[in-house]
Structure formats: C-alpha cells, structure tokens
Symmetry: none
Subunit: 202 residues, 4 copies
DNA sequence: GATGAATGAGTTTTCATTCAT
DNA sequence: AATGAATGAAAACTCATTCAT
C-alpha cells in the first residue's frame, strides 16, 4: 500500500501495468491486430494514459524488446557463470532459455512472432542482442575447445545459428502444441542432439 | 501469344501477376504495411481486379502459402528421390531448401517473416506443411538408421525441429546480411554440423 | 446531365462541391473549429472522399487560396484594363474588389479571417498575391502621375498598404454589420476619400 | 519583495506570468496550435495552475484582449490629450498606435492575427473597443472641422475604417518584413497621406 | 494555492472493400 | 472481365480539463 503510493512506484506500476497488458494483448492477437484501446482496457487505464508512458504504439513493442532482452540476457549470463566446464555451461544456457520462455508464455509468443518483423526493419536492439548471444556462445565454445570437449574445427558462427534456430523452433513448436508437455523437458534432449549430432559414431 | 488470349490463361496470368506483385510488396514492407492499392499498382491492374481473383487481402497470403508450399515441397521430394542413401538425401534436402530460398529472395522474406503470424492463428496450411516435412525427414532418418549411418536412438521429432530451426535461422541470417555470401554455400557446413554435432569424437 | 456524366466534369464537380462546402463551413465556424466530417456532410460525400481530392485538411484551404486568388486577381486586371485614365482605373479596381467580396460572402469571410494566419506562416501564395497587387497599383499610380492627377511625391508602397488596409477594413466592417447596406455602395466614397484625403483644400 | 509575498500580489504575479507566456506562445504558433501545456511550461507553472486564474484556454485570449485593449486605449487617449489642435492629435494618435505595437511585437502579432477570429464570433470586447476608437476619431475630426483643417463633408465612419485599416496594414506589413525598419518611421508619412490624399491639389 | 497524472471525447486520416459503369 | 471512385468503419493520437494529493 504505502509503497505503492509513493510517486515513483506509482509511475512505475502504471508503466508496468501497460506493458504487461500490451504483451498479453499482442500475444493473443498479434501486434497489428491489437488496438491501443484494447491495451488500455486490459491495463485498466484510459487510452490517453498510454501516451504518457509511451511515445506511440510502436514504442510499446520497443520497450518490451529493450526490457525483456536485457532481463532475459542477464539471466542467461548468470546461468552460464553458474557452471564451470563448457558443456555444463551450454546445457545450462539451453535449459535457462527454455525455462524463461516457459515461465512467460505471452512474452514468448510476442518474442517469437514479432522479432522477425523487427529484424527486417534492421532494428538495432535486435542486432545487439544477436551479437551478445554470439559472444556468449563463442566464449563457451572456445572454452570447450580448450577443454577438449568441443571439436576445434567447429564453425562457431554457424553453430550459433543452428543453436538459436533450434531453440527457437523448439519453443515455437511448444507454443502451438496446446501445452501438452513442459518446454524444459526438451532441454537435455536438445543439448544432447547438438553435442552428438545425428550421425552414428564410428 | 494466342494462348494468352483465351480467357482461362488470361485469368491465370492475372492471378499470377497479382500474386507475384503481392510477394514483392509484402517482402519490401511487410504484410500489414502493404496496401491492396500498392499490390494492384505493382501488378498493373485496378484495385477492384484483385477481388476477382482473391477473396480479400488475407486470401492473397493464403494462396501464396498454398502455392509456394506445394511447389517448394514437391521440389524437395524430387530432390530427395534423386539420391540413394540417407545422408545424400539429407544433404540434398538441405541444399535444395537453401537454393530455393536463395533463388527467390522476396518469397524468402515473406515466408520467413509472415509464417510465424499464421502459425499463431493455427493456420491449417502451415500445419500440413509442417507435417509433410516431418514425414519427409522421418523417412530419411529411418532409412539412415537401417543403413547404420544415423544413430538408432535419435529423437526424430526433435531432430526435425532442430533441422528446420537451423535452416530457418541460416536463411534469416543470410537475408539480413546484405547479400555478402551465397546462401547455398552454407549447405555443406550445415549438413556436416547436424551430422557430427559439436562434440569431440571419442 | 450528359455533361455531368463525363469523367472529367464529374471529378471536377466533386472537387468543386467539396471546396464550396469547405468554404461555407469554414466561414461559419472558422477553419480550426470546422471538422473534415462537417465539410464532408455539407458536400454530400463520405469523409474519405475528401482525401481523394485533397491531401489533408490544410490542403483544402491552400487550394481555396490558390484558386480564389488567381480568379479574383485576374478579374481585377480585366477591370483595370477596362478604363483609360488612372483615376477611373483606381475607381474600377476598388469597386470590383468590393463587388467580388459582396458576391460571395462565405469566400469573403474565409479570406478576411484566415489570410492573416497564413501570412504569419509566410505562405508563399499570399506573398505573391500581395506583390501582384502592388504591381497593379504601382502602374496605375505612375500613369496617374504622368496624367497629372496623382501627386508625384506619393510614396507608392505606403499608398498600396493604405488602400489594401482600407478596403480590407471596409469589407470586414460590412461583413459584421448584419448586411444592412451594400458593400459596393462604399466604393465611390472610399475612392474619393483616398484621392482627396481628409484635409481641407487650401 | 515583501509585497510580492502577500497572497494577492503573488496571485497577481502568477496571473501576469501566465498572460505574458500565453502571448509569447500564441504569437509564435498561433492560438489553435498552442497548447495549454506549452503556455504552462513557458510560464513556469503547472498545467492545472492555469485554471486557477483563467476559466479555460479561450479565457486567456479574452483577458489578453480586455487587458491590452484597455491599456493601449487609455494610452491613446492620453496621447490625444497631449496635443491641442486636431491635426496634432491625429498625428499623435497614429504615432502612438504604431509605437505601442512596435514596443511589443508578440502582442502585435497576436492582436493582428487573432482579432479577426474573434470579430467573427461577434466578440463584445472587440466591438466595444471599435466603438471607443470611433468616438476618439470622431471627436478629433469634429474638432478639426471646427478648426477648418478637416473638410466638413468627410464621412467620419468611413474615415475611421480607412484609418484603422491603413494602420493595421502598415503594422502587418512591418511584422512580416523581418524588422528592416522602424514601425514608427511610418507614422508621419501615413499621417500625411491620410490628410492630403493621393490626388494632385488643384 | 499548486501540482501534474489521468482522463476520454473528439479529430484526422487510412484503406479494405464494393459496385455502377 | 475490368475498372477505380466512393465508401465509412476503424484506428492512432491529442489535448483541454479535472481532481486527488
């Protein structure tokens, strides 16, 4: 109560309210089919209030990406640090990635669907994020190579694409599977597949 | 010439004109930011003419997916048949997939970006396509297992997701790379990575 | 009928309809208090139709100024040519100016009220018009000086301001006088006052 | 200092602050394109504070007209009283009118541009002001006629329109002339032109 | 008195779709 | 079949005004 009444947290709370509501609406209907009025109603504020916190409709999505990307990414880094050897780091990263998206389905939908749109518009934030991910994977791979558990001739840039693409698809498949299984249950199988590949060892 | 003057092929040609134009416009601006008028102008027809060949704006995208999916997919199947052993089939499938998208950049952009939107709306066509792809990969994998070149404990559904996701991401990365390299140059490295995995053989 | 049905006159007629309606509405309520919907209703067209003929609300006013200025001004020039000596030319110009505004009250109101706004925004059209008027008056004055009926030491630029300002104010006073007298009845008195001035001849 | 701290003068000072700020903003952007928030920011007060001193946005302009009209007009009267004979009175009135507008450019712009709008709405204040001006000019003219320096057949109402209109236009021309000359430098030429007229004496 | 966050009515503008020709 | 002018519903956004603090 009293905490919620100091101006700062009030503002913060409206901002968060609107952002949450927007993600919920965008997840349900897609960005373009969602209206500012719907977001306002969901957030329990007037239409005009949206514009006190966001420049325009697009800005809501921008803030979502900035905020969520930063948040998600810093938790990825923490997760990676939590392990010592490269393989555990990779496993943790994958599991964490899936866990984050499992925990916030609306966020996951919006992220999966709208990212592509913004990539086309060469959104800088998306590129930054992609680069950070590349660095993270790179350092893990190099460590793994020193540890002798990852082959030295691995094309890192390609591996990052395969890994990201695979995780993406696993998430997307889960999203549209009517929730019959837990997304995190895919972490270990996915990890193993990436490590061992498809081929018979010989 | 004379063929083009019989009503049927004329209709057909208008239909194709509009579809081509739409893909070009959608690729450049995205589906929602494209207007029917723009498509009409690009196609060299009147706005109203669009509605003689398509139910509405959405229907254009539907037809694109139906048409392109069918076309692309049948060429995937041909490609697979062209090889005998499982690994060559897989390699061919991957190369062909990349080649098709490299050959038609507009189609690639629209496919990559707008597919996600339609998946959310549980578009039946997308699901069909996904299933067909799964069957194709399945049969290759099973053949490979019989040939002893693919490990018998491979989780096929997951592998299909990894493969699709990886190809997707490789395509997307290429699309936004300002065309510095050929997409098909990624086929062999990608194939090899999927087969061998990341891990050091031991 | 048949004339109205050829495409050109149809378009022209819609364009004119909307322009007329806009002037009527703007005259009654002022530009800023008028809505595009009101103009559309008055013109008997849908809101969207306005935008087939005008870029935006502002553009309607622009077109009005371009069109009316050109029209009014060319009739001023004709009127001036109709007389031989300078004093008759001046008298004709003044009478014609008043007559034009008397004949189209709505136009007069919009012109008188909204011109100032546009002058501030240093609208080029308004400046052109002002210059043309200056040229017209200049040539009359010079002719009058040669004829010996206008004093040679007259500051022409200032005179043009006085004349324009006086006519403006006479029109404005008439506009808000609830139409008790004819505007053209002010032409001769005004002409005489400008010629003779206020002072007692001595 | 201490005077400024009693409630009444504080209120007065806020009132003046807001009025000044409003004129500055209105002059720059026009009444309709100016927002209450902009005025508040310029005045250094909160948006809501405006409504403690003014009924609404319109009321700010009303107060400006009341206040400025009264102020300007009383200084006109003083100026007239300062001279004995009619011609000097007229000359003083004209010079003073120009001087007041020269001294406060923002006020001048707002006055020139927005007066017309309010005239249309048959604003009572504007009418009062116009009547007062008429009385002032009337009495000067009648004095001049008795003194034998103004012709007895002068149509006074028309003369007042010519004079007001001329001064208006001289001011407006100056306002948009990028300040290359002093407005008051036009006083004597204008006075002379009104007195002598355009015609050659004969 | 003073604030400024919140409101929501009201506006401009767009654009998919229709239909008379 | 083809046209493209016309439609009008719907959306984003603004801003004067209010009111709880």
């Amino acid at each position: 109560m009293s905490e919620n009444n100091n101006p700062d947290s009030r503002k913060n709370s409206k901002y968060q309210q609107i952002l949450q509501a927007a993600i919920k609406i965008f997840a349900r209907q897609g960005y373009y089919k969602s209206t500012v009025s719907q977001v306002a109603r969901e957030a329990g504020v007037a239409d005009g209030t949206i514009y006190l916190y966001f420049k325009n409709k697009d800005d809501i999505l921008d803030h979502f990406f900035s905020y969520k990307t930063r948040e998600v990414f810093s938790c990825f880094q923490q997760e990676v640090r939590r392990a010592d050897n490269a393989l555990d780091k990779l496993r943790n990263l994958i599991r964490r990635h899936l866990l984050e998206f499992e925990n916030d389905r609306d966020m996951a939908v919006v992220y999966q669907v709208e990212t592509r749109m913004r990539r086309r518009l060469s959104d800088i934030k998306i590129k930054e994020m992609s680069d950070m991910y590349f660095d993270l994977v790179s350092s893990i791979v190099r460590q793994g190579q020193q540890e002798g558990v990852i082959r030295p001739d691995l094309p890192i840039a390609l591996f990052k694409q395969v890994m990201i693409g695979a995780i993406d698809e696993v998430i997307t498949t889960w999203l549209y599977s009517s929730g019959k299984y837990r997304l995190t249950s895919m972490a270990d199988p996915l990890f193993e597949l990436l490590i061992r590949g498809v081929g018979e060892k010989n």
